[in-house]
């Protein structure tokens, strides 16, 4: 689940992920407001509940206020859902790519979160 202030940004990350993740992963964006930049806890809550029932949900977000909205959203979903939602402490794009790769090869939610967090260590120009 991608939570960004920009609907375009969120959709763009999803299209990147869909290309490498294959069809078994549910990839969705809950990003932007109707008419401007921002995040919407209700939209996020709906998107979480639109995930395949029983699946684990990993949330990646862009800025701090997207975290606030995501955490608010967790209070709006039934607790059975809430327990399956995990926030990744990771850079949005790089974390999402690493997470999607791990999830697409069947990694556990712990492994997915760990790969996403590893993306923080990623050096892009180190060689």
């Amino acid at each position: 689940m991608i939570v960004s202030h920009s609907a375009k940004l969120g959709e763009g990350v999803c299209e990147l992920l869909r290309q490498l993740a294959g069809p078994n992963l549910h990839i969705a964006s809950a990003s932007g407001l109707e008419d401007r930049l921002g995040t919407d806890a209700i939209k996020i809550a709906h998107a979480i509940q639109a995930c395949p029932p029983g699946s684990d949900v990993v949330v990646l977000f862009d800025l701090g206020s997207a975290r606030l909205s995501s955490e608010m959203a967790l209070e709006l979903v039934p607790s059975a859902w809430r327990e399956r939602v995990f926030m990744a402490d990771a850079p949005l794009v790089e974390g999402a790519v690493a997470a999607a790769v791990e999830a697409s090869i069947g990694g556990s939610v712990e492994a997915v979160l760990a790969r996403a967090a590893d993306a923080r260590q990623l050096r892009k120009l180190d060689d």
């Binding site: 407001l33 930049l37 995040t39 806890a41 800025l63 701090g64 606030l68 955490e71 608010m72």
Partner: protein, 217 residues
């Protein structure tokens, strides 16, 4: 202090929506200097939707009204202030549950719970140059002055908002600026002070709302 009925609560929120429309550009400009320039738009959008919702739903208790405010803000504000004010109103709603009106005692409990909720949601402490500073100032007035002097409370809220000006932001987008966030009043603190002015004016006759010197913000 006269207890706040459901009707009075709706009037407070309606008046606040009008104040926000007036202050929209001021709040945007403050946020422009230390953030992304949308706090006025966010708040004006959110609370004009709130005013409409309340008019349509006619809540029978302040708690029910607060619940409507909280849910309406989530889909309409969009910024950090959305979940923060929403949390505040959810806490007020829980604190006032079952009451026909809100007296000073209930207000004390409500503001304490709301402040706790804002701090838990945003993880800001007092002095971080956020709306927490204003809510803390009001909460202190409620704790120390019994019975409360509503005029003092309004002025404490305004003073706390102005006092954010020299501070360095440690939470929210303004924190990106580090020391460069100094010299501008925190927009969320101003919007909170504006709300308390409407609230206390409704609960106590003769309260004089602060005159804001815009050039000093």
């Amino acid at each position: 202090m006269q207890p706040l009925t459901a009707e009075a609560f709706v009037r407070v929120m309606d008046a606040y929506a009008q104040v926000l429309a007036e202050f929209r550009d001021v709040l945007n400009e403050l946020d422009n200097r230390i953030g992304d320039g949308d706090h006025g738009t966010n708040m004006a959008r959110g609370f004009s939707a709130v005013a409409e919702k309340l008019k349509a739903s006619q809540p029978t208790t302040p708690a029910a009204g607060c619940q409507t405010v909280a849910m309406t803000l989530l889909g309409t504000v969009g910024g950090a202030s959305g979940p923060l004010y929403s949390t505040a109103f959810l806490k007020l709603s829980a604190a006032w549950n079952g009451r026909a009106d809100v007296d000073e005692e209930a207000l004390r409990g409500g503001v304490a719970a709301a402040l706790e909720g804002i701090m838990a949601r945003g993880r800001a402490a007092v002095g971080d140059k956020t709306m927490v500073d204003v809510w803390t100032a009001v909460q202190r007035e409620l704790q120390t002055e019994q019975p409360l002097d509503a005029q003092r409370a309004v002025e404490a809220a305004a003073a706390a908002a102005l006092a954010t000006k020299p501070l360095t932001a440690r939470k929210g987008r303004a924190a990106y600026l580090g020391d460069r966030s100094q010299g501008t009043v925190d927009p969320g603190s101003l919007s909170s002070a504006l709300w308390f002015a409407e609230l206390f004016a409704a609960m106590s006759e003769g309260v004089v709302k602060p005159q804001w010197d815009l050039s000093a913000l």
